[in-house]
């Protein structure tokens, strides 16, 4: 998910060229108070005009506790990004409040209720503690993201290379996402010069189970994709597992083994996930059966 400052005309029109999975136009922290109106008009007009070529679009709005949140929703539902992202979510009610506003505008303009999906960002200690109820609060929710910069400040610490200060929050967000059946997206890595540090963090969050990472530089997109794209060996192994299970099912065989090892449900699920990821990464054709 690539962050794009909502008042940057060049970036708002070009961000999809770098092929992130999602481009997220920011109306919140990257836009000064004096430019909130201009950024809103810019994102509104651009979203209504440009074909983002299949790249998912999201807009991070200002909170409803600010003078800008309601207008952001009013404009953005009309601009129809795929997703509205709610910042600094602390409780389920925050999601319901935004959902009520979105529904009001959807109704007014004749858009089917539920068209606009939601993403939440967890950026405070209270949000971390309430992650589960937040993640389960709406059918519109596609994912939950961790925002670490504000969080570490509240925790009275700072970001470190190994990310020890974020282990609890990352785990909490990830478990909440899995309970709710939605995506978990990790926080940004601000030092854009440090490619090695960035890669190490992407490997860490992939190993934890996250579905992706927010990025602030187009250069970081290919690095995330590199880590997340399954290797040839992983794909080969997954395809063999799926083939073995199909063969066993056609023979009506109950117990399945491959290379002398039993294949059980978790192994099959992991194989399916590997192939889904490989398809999304473009290294396995869509036609390959799961």
């Amino acid at each position: 998910m690539l962050y794009v400052p909502g008042n940057s005309a060049a970036m708002v029109k070009d961000a999809h060229i770098y092929r992130p999975d999602t481009v997220m136009f920011d109306l919140e922290d990257s836009v000064s108070y004096r430019e909130k109106d201009a950024a809103r008009f810019l994102v509104y007009q651009t979203l209504r005009t440009i074909d983002y070529g299949g790249v998912e679009t999201a807009v991070r709005i200002n909170g409803l506790d600010t003078p800008y949140g309601k207008d952001d929703i009013e404009a953005m539902v009309r601009a129809r990004p795929n997703i509205i992202r709610i910042p600094k979510t602390e409780k389920a009610q925050d999601v319901s409040d935004v959902e009520t506003e979105i529904e009001r505008v959807e109704r007014k303009i004749g858009l089917p209720i539920g068209t606009i999906k939601l993403f939440v960002a967890i950026e405070t200690p209270l949000g971390v503690l309430n992650a589960r109820e937040i993640a389960c609060s709406s059918n519109r929710l596609l994912g939950i993201a961790l925002g670490a910069e504000d969080l570490v400040t509240s925790l009275r610490t700072s970001r470190s290379k190994d990310g020890i200060e974020l282990y609890y929050a990352r785990s909490q967000v990830l478990y909440a996402a899995r309970v709710a059946g939605i995506n978990a997206i990790d926080t940004v890595y601000s030092n854009v010069q440090d490619e090695e540090g960035f890669l190490a963090e992407v490997r860490l969050i992939k190993q934890l189970g996250f579905d992706g990472k927010s990025v602030i530089q187009p250069n970081q997109i290919k690095l995330v994709h590199r880590v997340y794209t399954p290797t040839e060996e992983e794909i080969h192994k997954a395809l063999r597992v799926l083939e073995a299970i199909r063969e066993a099912e056609s023979k009506g065989s109950g117990v399945i083994a491959l290379d002398g090892r039993m294949i059980d449900k978790p192994v099959v699920e992991r194989a399916r996930w590997t192939i889904e990821l490989a398809k999304a990464s473009g290294v396995v054709p869509e036609e390959v059966k799961l």
Partner: protein, 98 residues
């Protein structure tokens, strides 16, 4: 919409446009355009400015446009922001803007 004072929006960065609107003591629109692509797109930019002003129901206005190869949608966005700022309006009639 009534223009009360000068209003500006946008930047001079590439792909953007800086637009200033103010009241025209005479009748009608006056558009001052400065663009590196004036020869190719000058007429189109003036057209977008005029259409947007009509849609916003603004009359008797001077518009200074410093274009840095902005798209039509960027010009519309910046002009709309400049007009609302110049009119001192912070409550946007989204239904009419659609």
């Amino acid at each position: 919409m009534r223009i009360l004072h000068a209003g500006t929006a946008g930047t001079l960065e590439s792909s953007d446009v800086l637009i200033t609107v103010e009241r025209n003591p005479e009748k009608g629109f006056v558009i001052e355009l400065e663009s590196i692509s004036e020869a190719r797109f000058g007429n189109r930019i003036r057209e977008v400015i005029t259409e947007t002003l009509k849609k916003l129901q603004v009359e008797d206005v001077k518009v200074r446009v410093q274009d840095r190869s902005a798209l039509d949608c960027t010009i519309r966005a910046r002009l709309t922001a400049a007009v609302f700022r110049a009119a001192g309006i912070e409550k946007y009639p989204w239904e009419e803007l659609e």
